[in-house]
Amino acid sequence: MAKKTYDLLFKLLLIGDSGVGKTSILFRFSDDAFTSTFISTIGIDFKIKTVELRGKKIKLQIWDTAGQERFHTITTSYYRGAMGIMLVYDVTDERSFENIVKWLRNIDEHANEDVEKMILGNKCDIDSKRAVNKDRGEAIAREYGVPFLETSAKANTNIDKAFNDLATAILDKFAGKEPGDAPDRVMVDTRRGDTSRRGCC
């Protein structure tokens, strides 16, 4: 009996102003590393990472986008097909926070209607230069009905949680819609590669 290489594939997207830490967040999540040098992303890049949620193996394909103004029109064409979008701002950069509304509007115009969203206030490790309070992040998230987390790619705060939460939200919606369609759980038993009909643990 064939085993699926993964149960589900989720395409996620990171958007937000240039320099807010999108690439760093992805790097932290996929490679568990951080670098303080800033290399502006000129294009669209992705990494994959497999997570296990609710007993399902989920392959996340996470797209990192160029945040620069001049690429905005092009990057919106990558919204379609994304099942989850992370909107990232920088807690030390007021403008990037104000622009969240603009990014939200962008999503409304270009992304799938039922896309799951999440707002991240990144660089929460920096206290000295903080420009946006957590309250304000929470407030805007409440206003738009989007989950919110403060993260730090540098200190590895809430990075895994952010992706897991977003993926879980997609999974729950997915499972709710097509109960019969969810692929079988992949067996934990690997000993013989046999056709066990039940899983263990």
Binding site: I42, I48, E52, S77, V188, D189, T195, R197, C200, C201
Partner: protein, 884 residues
């Protein structure tokens, strides 16, 4: 097929005489995470089979010296071959394992793979059918060296020296020497990846393989007390408690496997396999279990008189999985159920266990039949609910119990009894047929049996402890036995229970402490996560990666008709070959603007190599007007797409120097100075604001047209092939500069260049002289001069002026036809295409035949070349001889 024959020939050349390659196949060996090409061959030598694995220096190999033997795996009782075919993915994974060695091969699905795998299966069946001692594989001795000095670039880590593998067992068999155990560490042969197409194997098979290699990291062992009992009850119902047999130990066992033979000797039982005794004995067993624990029945299987019950302590029940049972009759006609075996298999935690209860052929001298029955049970007892089906040997642990019926031979019954009464069992055990047959490896090869310290369990007068007193006066024998096979099994007790006197046999039991592998869920998760992480990392690493030397290409000053180019270097910095392509973005019709040309726009780059892409910027008649009007800019974002990977945005910018070429007639008539002297903003305004700006009385026609025509009129009326021969590019540039910058010098360039410049000026406008909206009207009216005339008269003023002005000039040219050789038809065709330029897209519409259109355009213009135009109201300044 013939190519397979060739391959067999090459392999055969590699082998020694007496060895025959019967079948071969190309396959990919999973090394850690990636595939490496291998050739597999099944080789036979005097009914012994082995699987040879070759590395070839080229694929396919051409001569036998291309091949190196990587490994030889004897097809012995430890050899396993499992297939794992992907449903949709189409991959076929074949798991070859032998003892601790596990190899995963990927094969291309199809008849060849099927054939090869069934050949392997056949060789395994041949082994099962083999009688006598198991094969020794002496002929493989000479290959054992080749397994350790593999010298391929992409081979896995140095094998563990076979000599270290298991010193406890003493001298090793050839088979053991052949198997060097791989370290399960992940080794990625980057070189081979760099050459290969898609190196990362389908994930799930690899994860499973990796997990099985790391089993020790996430399992621990738990000791299970296993009680095995066997009793031939001689067709009698239970008449006493079984607890002296089943509950004779202090501690309650974790698991019971209790087997009976001759449960019912009635005809009904034999013919219809139905007996009330099943339930009677089952109840007796349950009643006799150890009182200190609660048990649950896992399975019960019965064939005629052979019954096997498996029970576990309640607390273990949830860890018991994949239960199956099966029966094999070897009795009358080789299949009836009076003799044979029944089996139950389970998995407890992560260990598979098989229990077999058998009743082998009777009669003292029939030991060979008994051997035969054993082999039949081995080959025929298979649990078919699994794919592939599982046989007895496919289990980690096997318990074999039953009335095996082996006797004590070559000894008078009287002497036997005598020896027993003197407790001299060892002399008797030497004459035990089973012991002898096992010594000769004729039966139960690979099984162990504990030392027998109890008296023979057969044959007694029922109800007593007295030896058989019937006429037959049978010699006592150890008919009832318990053997086992597998790792981590320790027998603690092996005994009979003479106190149970129901039957002519005494029950026998054995107690084992067996190590069961238990998955540590936390550790399993961790290992699994690590494996997935590693795989993710590799997958990310093997995504196509390039760097481009510049993502912002800046062209400095760009002028009309002067191409410029810049190079973009795309370097493959990743591990895999990259296919790149510039792709369209959003709703664009092409991957770049029309003023840009990319060469190559798509290509492949090998890892470590580079590709120079030439970006040529060229503003010509098609793009100039849009740049002039500001509708377009020298600005474009290119999307460089890597197949299966990322997109890189490359920004191209340039500074366009506006020219009269590409300006509209309406704008030009309002400019009295050279175009370059007008500020850009003003130019753009002129292009977009259509009403006449104040300040200047517009020219009737653009001065640039007048300059060019006037020059041709003065100097070129007699020139042959004017408008037909092309000019020089450099002269066109000089003419452009002269017009755009103004000059006191005479107009540069040859007459041909000036004629071409005129055409180019007319072609570079956003709209032709006859606007696009009149295009089809004109074509429709082409045969009718009056209609054509009307259309022309209705043209906007400057267009009409230019049209007529040019027609006057062309008529002048034609009046010198005998000198310049021009004719009206030719000029009508040239200018038809210019005056009535196709609207964008119309020309692309395949429906209209372009030749027909061209003819109509020509005939439209033709009227104006051959008819007298003097009745047109003309402004004075349109006269060709007018002054500037």
């Amino acid at each position: 097929m013939s190519s397979n024959q060739d391959l067999i020939g090459i392999i055969q050349a590699k082998l020694s005489s007496g060895e025959t390659a019967s079948s071969c196949h190309e396959a990919s060996l999973m090394q850690g995470w990636v595939r490496a090409s291998r050739i597999l061959a099944l080789v036979e030598h005097e009914n012994e089979w082995a699987l040879f694995i070759f590395i070839s220096s080229r694929m396919p190999p051409e001569v036998f010296t291309d091949l190196a033997i990587e490994r030889v795996i004897p097809v012995d009782s430890d050899f396993k071959c499992e297939i794992d075919a992907g449903e949709q993915s189409g991959d076929v994974y074949v798991n070859i394992s032998s003892r601790k060695l596990k190899l995963l091969f990927e094969m291309i699905p199809g008849i060849k793979t099927n054939n090869f795998v069934s050949e392997i299966m056949r060789s395994m069946e041949a082994l099962m059918k083999l009688r006598g001692p198991p094969p020794e594989f002496q002929w493989l001795h000479k290959y054992s060296g080749s397994t350790s000095n593999r010298n391929s670039a992409d081979c896995d880590p140095a094998p563990v020296d076979a000599a270290d593998v298991d010193v406890t067992k003493g001298a090793k068999t050839v088979a053991e020497k052949m198997l060097d155990i791989d370290s399960p560490d992940i080794v990625v042969p980057r070189q081979s990846i760099a050459q290969g197409a898609t190196p990362i194997a389908a994930r799930e098979s690899v994860i499973r393989y990796q997990m099985s290699m790391k089993e020790d990291d996430y399992t621990f062992t738990e000791t299970l007390r296993v009680f095995i009992g066997t009793w031939n009850v001689n067709g009698l119902p239970p008449n006493a408690s079984l607890s002296p047999w089943l509950a004779s130990d202090m501690e309650p066992p974790d698991l019971y496997a209790v087997g009976f033979q001759e449960l019912d000797l009635s005809k009904e039982a034999f013919l219809f396999n139905d007996t009330p005794r099943e339930e009677e004995w089952r109840k007796a067993v349950i009643a006799g279990l150890h009182p200190a624990a609660k048990y649950r029945q896992v399975a019960l299987v019965r064939l005629v008189g052979m019954m096997l019950i498996l029970l576990v302590q309640e607390k273990h029940e949830k860890h018991v999985r994949n239960v199956a049972w099966e029966t094999v009759g070897t009795g009358i006609m080789g299949k009836m159920g009076n003799k044979g075996g029944v089996g139950i298999r389970v998995e407890i935690h992560n260990t598979s266990i098989c229990f077999v209860n058998s009743h082998l052929a009777a009669h003292v001298e029939e030991f060979e039949r008994r051997n035969q029955d054993y082999h039949d049970i081995c080959s025929r007892l298979s649990f078919s609910k699994f794919v592939p089906t599982k046989c007895i040997k496919d289990h980690d642990q096997v318990y074999w119990l039953g009335d095996l019926n082996y006797r004590i031979t070559e000894m008078e019954p009287r002497i036997v009894r005598d020896l027993i009464s003197h407790n001299s069992l060892s002399a008797l055990l030497e004459c035990d047929q089973l012991n002898r047959q096992r010594q000769h490896k004729n039966v139960f090869d690979g099984y162990r049996e504990g030392p027998i310290t109890f008296k023979p369990t057969y044959k007694y007068d029922p109800g007593t402890d007295d030896w058989d007193s019937s006429e037959k006066n049978r010699a006592p024998a150890w008919c009832d036995r318990i053997l086992w096979r597998g790792d981590g099994m320790e027998q603690k007790e092996y005994r009979s229970h003479p106190i149970l006197r129901t039957s002519d046999h005494k029950p026998v039991s054995a107690l084992f402490e067996s190590q069961i592998r238990v998955i540590d869920v936390v550790k399993y998760r961790k290992v699994h996560e690590e494996v997935m992480k590693k795989l993710d990392k590799l997958e990310n690493e093997f995504l196509p990666q390039v760097t481009v030397d510049n993502t912002e290409i800046i062209f400095d000053i760009v002028r009309f008709l002067e191409p410029q180019s810049q190079e973009l270097i795309i370097a493959n910095t990743g591990q895999v070959p990259v296919d790149f392509e510039f792709i369209k973005k959003l709703d664009d019709s092409k991957y770049c603007k029309e003023w840009l040309n990319i060469d190559p726009a798509a290509s492949s780059i090998k890892p470590g190599e580079k590709c120079d892409v030439k970006l040529e910027l060229f503003v010509d008649k098609k793009s100039a007007s849009k740049l002039n009007s500001g509708e377009d800019k020298l600005y474009d974002i290119l999307v460089l797409h890597l197949d299966g990977g990322k997109d890189i945005f490359i920004t191209v910018t340039g500074n366009y120097e506006r020219s009269c070429f590409g300006s509209s007639l309406e704008a030009l008539v309002h400019i009295s100075v050279p175009v370059r002297e007008i500020p850009i903003g003003k130019l753009v305004e002129l292009e977009n604001v259509r009403e006449a700006p104040g300040g200047m009385e517009p020219y009737p026609i653009p001065k640039e047209i007048w300059f060019l025509v006037d020059h041709l009129y003065r100097h070129g009326l007699k020139k042959q092939n004017l408008f037909l021969l092309t000019g020089l590019h450099s002269e066109l540039i000089a003419i452009r500069n002269w017009l755009d910058n103004g000059s006191s010098e005479p107009l540069p360039g040859s007459l041909y260049s000036i004629a071409e410049a005129l055409l180019l000026l007319l072609e570079s406008t956003a709209e032709p002289i006859v606007p696009f909206n009149l295009h089809s009207v004109c074509l429709g009216a082409a045969t009718n001069y009056l209609q054509c005339k009307q259309i022309i008269m209705q043209l906007p003023e400057f267009r009409r002026n230019v049209f007529l002005y040019l027609c006057f000039f062309l008529q002048e040219l034609l009046s010198h036809a005998n000198e310049n050789g021009l004719d009206a038809k030719t000029l009508a065709t040239v200018f038809g295409a210019i005056f009535l330029r196709d609207p964008p897209r119309v020309s692309a519409r395949g429906r209209v035949n372009p030749a027909v259109m061209d003819r109509k355009k020509a005939s439209f213009v033709y009227h104006f070349l051959v008819n007298d135009l003097s009745d047109y109201v003309m402004s004075k300044s349109l006269h060709l001889s007018g002054t500037s």
